[in-house]
């Protein structure tokens, strides 16, 4: 794996070029995605059952979003009653500041972290380090990335782009008494030994959240490694960090959502750990003395305001869409240049970062629909990609409220004109006939350099006679008329 070049220095096309031309990466992702696709399909063997479960999951998420402000208020009250402190953050910066304030209030020097994509989104680690607080990633994948100084390439399996050899080298260089070995168990044990030490000395535990239950005021966190369990119980302060959309109404909503999440993500009926946190320690129990929840907006209210785009927020972050995406499979996650890669990233990042910075993402898709087909909460991902393309090339009408930042970022006068003449041509049969006729007549002259096409394919030649002409001829012949 070549050195990770900072993303902001490269354009989307440059990143695509870099990663497409890395054969090891290509093979690696193909195999990894095949593995994850198999896992999922082997756990959803009954299609009818799956479809009704998806229907249910989708309706649960839609219901929650339709009452989002009320549910968030209910959640906040319940959490407060339970003794959990709630903080609201409009931006990444605000969220990081809240975490920092809590840490500094406790004079914290170290923070042990369970997996949290939201903390990746806010770039919390960089912020903590600047203030002299040392974060340690305890999820195995995140731990590897922290050592390698890299960003996640997948939302469920952040280090999926790393090979066993990469990891062996990394551990050899960074861990005490860890010799180069490709034996996975030995590697994992070495990392775990190191992490155990950190768990006991960390001042604060920070984790993400999969679901928040408004009815009971609970935070739900699923994981397989036990790092979440430790991070939420061993240090005396636990900070949970998540996006405002993760709320669900009832405790009863959880079983279907969890079933959809874990089966779609890793093909597991349930994860090894399901943590449901409803309060700090009580009386003689174990657990943290303080529990905080940081709720992040960071642009999520933008799609919330639009009925169609709101569906983006139904996401339960299972990553099935990227596992099944033919583009993600070939690029890996880093080429997308955003925290959330793959199809979900391409519909979410434009809201979080604005269309200006992400204008390639909605377009870099063949709209094949594999993502929408597998999404456990039935987000119409391809429709949303198309909608974002539409917003990207549309100029706002006078006094129209923008539905997204960076509206019209892809608008160019030439392209608008080109589509204008296209629609004229194809809505006028007479013009179309002339065009078709001349295209057929000039078939020897078809430009052999069609941008992009001819690097991989020969140019199709127009037929001598169009279908219109052939059918006419066929009918005349049948009637015995002269051709």
């Amino acid at each position: 794996m070549p050195e990770q070049i900072p993303m902001q220095n490269l354009s989307f096309n440059q990143r695509v070029d870099r990663d497409l031309n890395n054969p090891a990466l290509r093979t690696h992702f193909r195999e990894a995605m095949d593995f994850l696709m198999d896992k999922r399909s082997h756990s959803f063997t009954d299609d009818e059952k799956l479809q009704s479960l998806r229907e249910l999951g989708s309706s649960i998420r839609k219901r929650a979003l339709s009452k989002l402000p009320d549910l968030l208020e209910q959640l906040e009250n319940k959490l407060r009653d339970n003794g959990i402190r709630v903080h609201w953050a409009e931006s990444s910066k605000e969220a990081n500041q809240i975490v920092l304030d809590i840490a500094q209030h406790h004079g914290a020097k170290t923070m042990i972290k369970g997996k949290s994509m939201v903390s990746e989104e806010t770039e919390l680690n960089e912020c903590l380090e600047q203030e002299g607080i040392h974060p340690v990633e305890a999820d195995m994948g995140e731990y590897i990335l922290q050592l390698a100084k890299e960003k996640p390439s997948h939302i469920v399996m952040p280090a999926i782009h790393k090979s066993k050899e990469d990891i062996a080298k990394l551990f050899e260089q960074n861990l005490d008494d860890c010799e180069y070995t490709e034996d996975v168990d030995t590697l994992i044990q070495a990392a775990r030994k190191e992490l155990r030490k950190q768990f006991h000395s960390a001042d604060i535990g920070l984790t993400g959240v999969n679901f928040m239950v408004a009815e009971t005021g609970s935070l739900v966190l699923v994981e397989n490694e036990g790092n979440g369990r430790l991070a939420t119980t061993v240090p005396k302060v636990h900070i949970a960090m998540t996006g405002i959309e993760k709320v669900t109404e009832y405790l009863d909503d959880l079983p279907p959502l969890l079933t959809l999440l874990t089966n779609s993500a890793t093909g597991q009926a349930i994860t090894t750990y399901v943590n449901i946190i409803s309060s700090p320690r009580k009386g003689g129990e174990g657990g943290p003395e303080e529990v905080h929840l940081v709720l992040l907006d960071n642009g999520r209210t933008i799609p919330f305001a639009d009925e169609e785009m709101r569906q983006t927020l139904q996401c339960i972050r299972c990553a099935a869409c990227m596992n099944h995406c033919p583009v993600y499979t070939r690029l890996g996650g880093h080429a997308y240049g955003a925290t959330y890669p793959g199809p979900i990233g391409s519909i979410l990042s434009p809201h979080l970062l604005g269309l200006e910075a992400t204008k390639d993402l909605p377009s870099a898709s063949s709209l094949c629909g594999a993502c929408s087909e597998v999404c456990p909460v039935k987000i119409p991902i391809t429709d949303l990609l198309r909608r974002l393309r539409h917003e990207g090339v549309r100029k706002l009408k006078k006094d129209e409220e923008p539905v997204i930042r960076g509206h019209g970022a892809k608008y160019t006068h030439t392209e608008k004109l080109a589509w204008g003449s296209w629609s004229k041509l194809y809505s006028s049969p007479a013009l179309y006939r002339t065009f078709a006729f001349s295209a057929s007549m000039m078939r020897g002259l078809t430009p052999s350099k069609m941008k992009g096409w001819t690097d991989y394919r020969t140019t199709p030649k127009p037929a001598e006679k169009s279908m219109h002409a052939l059918i006419k001829q066929h009918r005349k012949a049948r009637k015995g008329e002269p051709l």
Binding site: R26, T45, I167, P326, S366, E373, V393, S423, P429, G452
Partner: protein, 286 residues
């Protein structure tokens, strides 16, 4: 290797199973099909019209042979999909409106391409949502059938194979499968040819990389996809490659030709005609 560490080391868990058949899931409810009509509209699609017109003619001959009166509206042009997927809704509507106007009688509209079918059946209603044409678009969409879907579900067509033994690879367009839910009808027709063996290729469910303007806007991503598709198809060494969608075929054929393969994909309409008519055997495809 236990599941728990896959996030760290995926290559430890790689499975050796071939990725040939993805259990397809269905997004839409099964359609209710009308009984056999006397008359239909045939919609060719602009690519077939200009690049593979014989497929259109073969479809027409086949339908006529089944006793269906085929109306081929001369004014048909394009379904509007290129503009629609690029985000140019107004431009797409102008073109779509015209197609709806010239095929306004109650007859079924039979489409020779899954992606145009998907556009007309699945997207027209949303394209005109809230506009005066909404009802017209819905009615139009309800009459749209993809060619193989029409043959199987409405005509109950049973081809009588007259050809020699052949092996066939089938490529199903993503729109046919995911927007029209008709991936199985193409297989069914091929499987009902008694001298033809359908062979499954690796990642058969995966997109060929065409995606309309995607293939010229992001040529290298699209190129990587079509190259993989070509490799998967040629690996199984089929005698023929068949698809019900000419857009995909144009893409795959272009890449096959570029790489020097003799194999050239054929539209299913031509293939069915070729297999079932004695006179056509050598004529349509070498």
């Amino acid at each position: 290797m236990p599941d728990l560490f896959v996030n760290a080391m995926p290559d430890q868990t790689g499975s050796d199973e071939p990725h040939a058949e993805q259990p397809y899931t269905t997004n839409s409810h099964a359609r209710v099909y009308p009984s056999r009509p006397e008359k239909i509209y045939l919609y060719g699609n602009c690519l077939i019209d200009l690049l593979q017109p014989e497929a259109g003619l073969d479809a027409l001959k086949l339908l006529e042979r089944e006793g269906i009166e085929v109306v081929f509206p001369e004014q048909q042009t394009c379904c509007g999909q290129p503009a629609y997927t690029s985000g140019y809704d107004d431009e797409a509507r102008t073109v779509a409106r015209m197609q709806m106007d010239i095929m306004s009688e109650e007859w079924p509209i039979v489409i020779l391409s899954g992606s145009c079918g998907g556009m007309m059946h699945h997207h027209y209603p949303s394209l005109f949502k809230g506009l005066p044409e909404e009802q017209q678009a819905k009615y139009f969409a309800s009459r749209v059938f993809e060619f193989t879907e029409f043959l199987v579900h409405i005509l109950n067509y049973q081809p009588e194979d007259q050809g020699n033994h052949q092996t066939v690879a089938v490529h199903t367009s993503c729109s046919a499968r995911r927007e029209m839910n008709v991936h199985k009808t193409g297989w069914l027709l091929i499987d009902s040819l008694k001298n033809v063996v359908r062979k499954v290729h690796d990642h058969e469910f995966e997109c060929c990389g065409f995606g309309g303007s995607f293939c010229v806007r992001y040529p290298d991503i699209s190129g990587a996809m079509v190259n993989d598709k070509v490799k998967a198809i040629t690996d199984i060494k089929p005698d023929r490659l068949i698809s019900a969608d000419y857009a995909c075929l144009m893409n795959i054929n272009g890449a096959l030709d570029f790489q020097g393969y003799e194999l050239k994909g054929t539209h299913i309409a031509s293939y069915l005609w070729e297999r079932t008519s004695k006179q056509a055997a050598g004529e349509n495809n070498a």
